[in-house]
């Protein structure tokens, strides 16, 4: 058929072939890139779209200094309700918070992890600080007092109640969600217990970026 016409690479790669092919590759790459930029991030927890600012709680931190949620405007806040005598759920969740901060690397400077005690009668600011320093000194422990703890917990969908197993010994049953508040002070994501740190860190990065 083409016996008198040897195969030529230059002929094969004529603009007639190359341009549409290259155009297709570039076009597909553009679509994939644009899609990944415009595609909504899939959050590991439940995303909220509340137009109201998150409840502006107040509590006493190390050395009795008073902190409000609004003090952290400009930073993302990872909030958890727990207590120092908590046998299992709190240490696990605090480890998750610690690992999340580790995974964020330099961006962890833009994040404040906070634990509000659900046992404010026992968990003095000093006790909280000593306990949290043992796990991760970057997590701020707050004693919000009885009334404010009840208010804050209710507003953040957290239930807690003391359950006595002896005359003086008790545990505090409590909701173990982690709450992500964005740098503008809006509650954005709620994570159920045992959400992994990598997934939370990815969400925090997204929130900080957008």
């Amino acid at each position: 058929m083409n016996a008198g016409k040897p195969f030529s690479i230059r002929q094969f790669l004529t603009p007639h072939w190359l341009l549409p092919l290259a155009g297709l590759v570039v076009g597909l790459t553009a679509v994939i890139l644009l899609s990944s930029i415009l595609r909504p991030h899939t959050f590991a927890g439940t995303l909220l779209q509340s137009p109201q600012s998150a409840y502006d709680f107040t509590g006493r931190g190390p050395q009795g200094a008073v902190y409000r949620l609004s003090d952290f405007r400009g930073k993302a806040v990872l909030l958890f309700f727990g207590y120092t005598s908590c046998p299992d759920i709190c240490p696990t969740t605090l480890q998750t918070l610690s690992k999340t901060l580790d995974r964020l690397g330099d961006r962890s400077a833009d994040v404040q992890a906070v634990m509000i005690s659900v046992d404010p009668e026992k968990d003095t600011p000093q006790r909280l600080a000593a306990y949290l320093n043992h796990i991760d000194g970057r997590i701020l422990g707050l004693n919000a007092g009885l009334e404010e703890t009840a208010n804050a917990a209710m507003q953040y969908g957290v239930f807690y109640e003391k359950r006595y197993f002896s005359e003086t010994g008790y545990l505090v049953d409590h909701t173990a969600t982690i709450l992500l508040i964005d740098p503008q002070g809006f509650l954005r994501v709620v994570y159920p217990y045992q959400t992994n740190a990598a997934a939370i860190a990815a969400d925090v990065k997204y929130i900080l970026k957008h």
Partner: protein
């Protein structure tokens, strides 16, 4: 010339993407109920004096309402709406998660667990479990007024004035719809409930992304 062609393809691809996003946001092939806010955390007592907590409602759909056992005319239309919803759901017994009604009393001083146990429900629900909750006055006030934002005021005749309100909360404890006053209409509530069921049933696997996009682009009814 070569670059001109490449740019042409790039523009077409980008244009198609923008058109598809515009189509998604205007034609709204998927409509979702907004994730409005977190439902308040609580621990209250039911008629058998057992502790009922917000955590126990995870995984269920809950329609919260607010009333008191002595409530007469003020509650009649709300009870009628609940009865119609219950009757309509009798035709869809396999829908999961199941819907439950929780009524939080706005008169906890009188509506003790004992009083709730003696109280005959305004109608006998066919499919929906209906519980009334009470507790210490301060705690109930905090949940009803502070959490669900129900305004309650005593009238001179001993009855209570309060905002009729129904709040639909999903299995994650997120408020997905609230119905106040004239919005308390069983057809309206059932149509929003149907949207929520549709989302729960369909937002699995790859479809989840499309549903998240619907939330992202606020494709609300």
């Amino acid at each position: 010339m070569k670059w001109g062609r490449l740019l042409q393809v790039f523009y077409i691809a980008g244009g198609l993407l923008v058109i598809s996003i515009l189509w998604f946001t205007t034609a709204r092939p998927i409509v979702v109920l907004p994730r409005m806010r977190l439902s308040p955390g609580y621990g209250l007592q039911d008629a058998s004096n057992s502790l009922v907590t917000s955590d126990q409602q995870r995984g269920l759909l809950t329609l919260y309402s607010f009333a008191y056992t002595r409530c007469g005319d003020d509650c009649r239309s709300m009870y009628a709406a609940l009865q119609e919803i219950d009757a309509a759901l009798a035709d869809q017994p396999t829908r999961q998660p199941r819907l439950q009604f929780i009524t939080i009393t706005v008169d906890p001083a009188r509506d003790t667990p004992e009083a709730l146990a003696a109280f005959a429900l305004p109608f006998d629900p066919k499919t929906v479990q209906w519980r009334w909750l009470t507790g210490p006055q301060e705690r109930v006030n905090a949940v009803a007024s502070g959490g669900f934002e129900v305004l309650v005021q005593p009238r001179q005749d001993g009855s209570l004035f309060f905002t009729p309100l129904l709040v639909l909360v999903d299995g994650a404890g997120v408020v997905r719809a609230s119905f106040e006053g004239s919005q308390i209409d069983s057809q309206n509530i059932l149509s929003q409930l149907a949207l929520l069921y549709k989302e729960i049933e369909r937002s699995q696997g790859a479809n989840r992304l499309a549903y998240e996009a619907a939330h992202f682009f606020a494709c609300y009814p």
